[in-house]
Symmetry: C2
Subunit: 447 residues, 2 copies
Amino acid sequence: MFRALARASATLGPQVAGWARTMATRQLLVAPPEALLRPLFIPNRLLLGPGPSNLAPRVLVAGGQQMIGHMHKEMFQVGHVGGGSGCPECPPQGGEGRSVGSDLRALGPQIMDDIKQGIQYVFQTKNPLTLAISGSGHCALEAALFNILEPGDPFLVGVNGIWGQRAADIGERIGARVHPMIKDPGNHYTLQELEEALAQHKPVLLFLTQGESSSGVLQPLDGYGELCHRYNCLLLVDSVASLCGTPIYMDQQGIDVLYSGSQKVLNSPPGTSLISFSDKAKNKIYTRKTKPVSFYLDMKWLANIWGCDGKPRIYHHTTPVVSLYSLRESLALIAEQGLENSWRQHREVTAYLHGRLQGLGLQLFVKDPALRLPTVTSVAVPAGYDWRDIVNYVMDHFDIEITGGLGPSMGKVLRIGLLGCNATRENVDRVIQALQEALQRCSRNKL
Amino acid sequence: MFRALARASATLGPQVAGWARTMATRQLLVAPPEALLRPLFIPNRLLLGPGPSNLAPRVLVAGGQQMIGHMHKEMFQVGHVGGGSGCPECPPQGGEGRSVGSDLRALGPQIMDDIKQGIQYVFQTKNPLTLAISGSGHCALEAALFNILEPGDPFLVGVNGIWGQRAADIGERIGARVHPMIKDPGNHYTLQELEEALAQHKPVLLFLTQGESSSGVLQPLDGYGELCHRYNCLLLVDSVASLCGTPIYMDQQGIDVLYSGSQKVLNSPPGTSLISFSDKAKNKIYTRKTKPVSFYLDMKWLANIWGCDGKPRIYHHTTPVVSLYSLRESLALIAEQGLENSWRQHREVTAYLHGRLQGLGLQLFVKDPALRLPTVTSVAVPAGYDWRDIVNYVMDHFDIEITGGLGPSMGKVLRIGLLGCNATRENVDRVIQALQEALQRCSRNKL
């Protein structure tokens, strides 16, 4: 086809001639890179680190689908642009982006609306302001902090691992008065400790991580929302590494802002994240004195394109349509399995892993069994070993990913994740076999 | 498997028993949404709006691949974590994230490194600080402004459509002194106008849009970088809707920051974007007095995980691995086709479209042929028609997307995009046939 066009170009008139002159004035100084001429090859690996996890088969299929427009009727409940009711050939319209009720439901999924409902289910919330962020978990954390905090706002942060460090860092960037509560990795926060800090600092927001994936700690949440509200503080919880692997009840536990990622138990690719705001949190956003620093993450705009504000949807940014297909399928899988079954699966398979690890003579890093995450397990690096040797051995000889520590837990732990469809006894047996062999081969005492 | 686990749970010890008690204290109050039980169905549409465009077949295949870790050896040139050279069973290591030279090249693509080279090619730049952003084009715009501007910095913005409006908005959010140069959609900026504004406002940064997709204007760029540098101003250019469809030479044209999107001529899904910084721009970033407001978009961190700073790579955020497969394949397609061939294809097919549109009696919105974008064409809405009727008719009867205006051009234009693999004469013929029929059926004069 292209050659035919080239032949025809002489007849295409002054516009093409003008363009051709512009092009002739410069030359390409950077050549096509040879590296891009190699074929793409993606190996098959069992991802038993703290995430990303392997994609569920149905999610894989979704990721291979063709594009549609980010505002097409398959994305949300409106079939057409505008309300062009005057065209005799056009079907009745839903108006300028308003919901058109149940008649369009028969046409198939509305991906963004389905995702909102799916997030409400996995978060156990009825919050209308519930949506997916077009970015990773860190982006969702920024969406939370950028929208809730204003310069000068006191912000209390539980820093018992890398996620609290990151929250404190972002808080400082936007001018909040950050009060970090620093603990060694492996620890959690009690109600009593928090009450003292709330009384002392009078924060507008408290950050806690439910699943501290860098240390393997499960932060209890019962009573924490109530406590915060007694001190006029909002509660923000990171559930990236824990969601769908352990119970969370956003509304019943009084959590004001909750976010999570797509690439952990949900078995979707990284690149989207989940977020929801209580009415209290929404009120803080809608009564801000200053605009959030980010337009991309401005919740008033996002609330609109996600249909959370009851107004006609207006173009904000181009959402990651194919990633949303995947996220929708992930949430559909959990809806079919049932949250309680997913929680039970993770609890039981991870307990089985813990038993097998102890059978190898390894020590779990988190001492109290009630505080161990049912998704990501941290194991103390055994004496006489370099954690890197073990991780590399398991990857090289078994094509299995496990990882070392992260941030404050670096060098202290090995981490094994059993996330979503990867949480099976068969996978536990595979990783235990790999670890057993690594422990035999990688001892530095032999050197 | 799950039932077997349930039967076995009685034997799993105190950890599971403790979890079970926690779970028993609360009940699910939000049921699994019925909407998620419907199967996902994605229709086949020809996307001839201003983007997103259809995915190229090879990009589709890439999107259906399984996950690997975001720091695995297929992502960049390092095979292993750390430098665990002591393990007798492990191959020689590349050290803590450093490049290991050509021996690993034989193993296959290094996706992030390939993407960097691909961006350098399509931008025609040798800038080391070149990478992909984990978000849409708006996210890349924020990455540019957050990193270059500090509070109080004067910022000159060409506002001749929606993208300049957005840049001005973001500049204000982060406390820059924004000087918008407002023009009606369809206009561009001359060197003389800019020189006056540069002399008057002494900005540190000028924003221009090469492909103003909301109006269909192609902003000339020759001489603009040189002019800016004479006034100690950096030049930031948005090429989201124009990249690979019309020439741009970042280094030769003295562009200091250039960004683009994945979902236009590159025929990838939305969700990643491309960005590069000149040494001048990099210097402004590395001599900032304040941290950028965003951690997610902090260029010093991103430079590190993209291997642009020569230091060992440190975890920053989980990159959108599968979207990067797609982006890598998009860039490989352009490398194989050749930039100049891609430019020529868009120029010639769009010229053919312009001729056919004029043959229907329609008026192109941009009067000067030299200022018409070779990717997105704007057509004046013909008298006696509502643009919505035409857009809806073409979608309903032909499964083809064309769109109306956006922001300042809303209501004034229809927009037709011929982007990447969609830029063929066959597609022009299809959309012209659809438009012809729509014009016959949708006239409001008949009513």
